[in-house]
Symmetry: C2
Subunit: 182 residues, 2 copies
């Protein structure tokens, strides 16, 4: 079982300093739609900023209960799995309430790390365990999140040296590799 | 060799009627970044609307030549492969100028069609041929584009019945399947 956490704090900026990023509407929709296609259990938008939490909840409510639900019911179906959390501890608590255990925390990064887990190996674990895959925004997750994780997923690499996928693309490709049927 | 065409006309709306959709900034960036990661030759935004063409060119120019190029050079690198075309005939002409032949036209659709080509089979052809993969916007490509294509690529299917990926997610997943290294 796989859940997703999109972290807006603590992240780093271009200079490697800690920042809080803003929630992006396209991140809510694109990742929820991909999650619903691939059978993700829950998708958490993680931000400690109360106004940003309200912003995200307002978008989700519009499509799940508001007039958006009538205009485009499939969008509401996708967004019904979206939750807002103030930090990863709250995500862990919610997953423990739902599934009985704290999740295996797996971070993603565009940079390669020693001892990374492969998509193939993680796919096996997802079949039997409660796994939460963590994505950063801005210029990536703060190192403290990476250090505290149980595992680091191998980075996505295309055939080119260029390696700057949007988080929306990265999530979509990982979901296809981890949960896709061929 | 693989190129991409993102078509804004002729597409269909919810009711199946022909429409021209608006260019979306996130489609420009996300698909250009994924294309650059996976080694896509050229990425065309297709719209007959002159004001929309100007809008797209202005965004591309900002990142390739404007102050965006200094602020984030990797974004300029990704957007350097983006072109604007008024229709698919112009895309074919541009690809013929670059690569000596008209492309093999392959359309994508969320619906399954008889005689679709698999990702595996298309991957083989991309290795030796000039291929242009066509994506629709709105509620999909107009049937006339689908009927005129040389091939229809198999739809992406996750394990769930829900099947409403964003075009940004669909392009990213197809690129990983068609050009990704494992």
């Amino acid at each position: 079982m796989l859940s997703l956490a999109l972290v807006h704090f603590p992240c780093v900026n271009k200079q490697g300093r800690v920042v809080t990023t803003a929630i992006t509407n396209f991140d809510i929709h694109d990742i929820a739609r991909a999650g619903c296609t691939y059978g993700v259990a829950r998708y958490f938008l993680v931000t400690p900023v109360e106004l940003q939490q309200q912003f995200a909840r307002r978008i989700v409510t519009h499509w799940v209960e508001g007039w958006g639900a009538e205009y485009n019911p499939t969008r509401g179906e996708a967004l019904a799995n979206v939750s807002v959390a103030s930090d990863l501890a709250s995500v862990g608590d919610a997953l423990e309430r739902d599934f009985g255990t704290q999740p295996l925390w797996v971070v993603t990064s565009a940079k390669p790390y020693a001892h990374g887990i492969t998509c193939e190996a993680l796919r096996e674990r997802i079949a039997h365990e409660n796994v939460c895959l963590i994505f950063g925004t801005g210029h990536g997750l703060h190192p403290e999140i990476i250090e505290q994780a149980d595992a680091i997923l191998e980075p996505l690499k295309g055939p080119m040296p260029f390696n700057h996928l949007s988080v929306r693309s990265a999530v979509s490709i990982y979901l296809d590799r981890l949960l896709g049927t061929r």
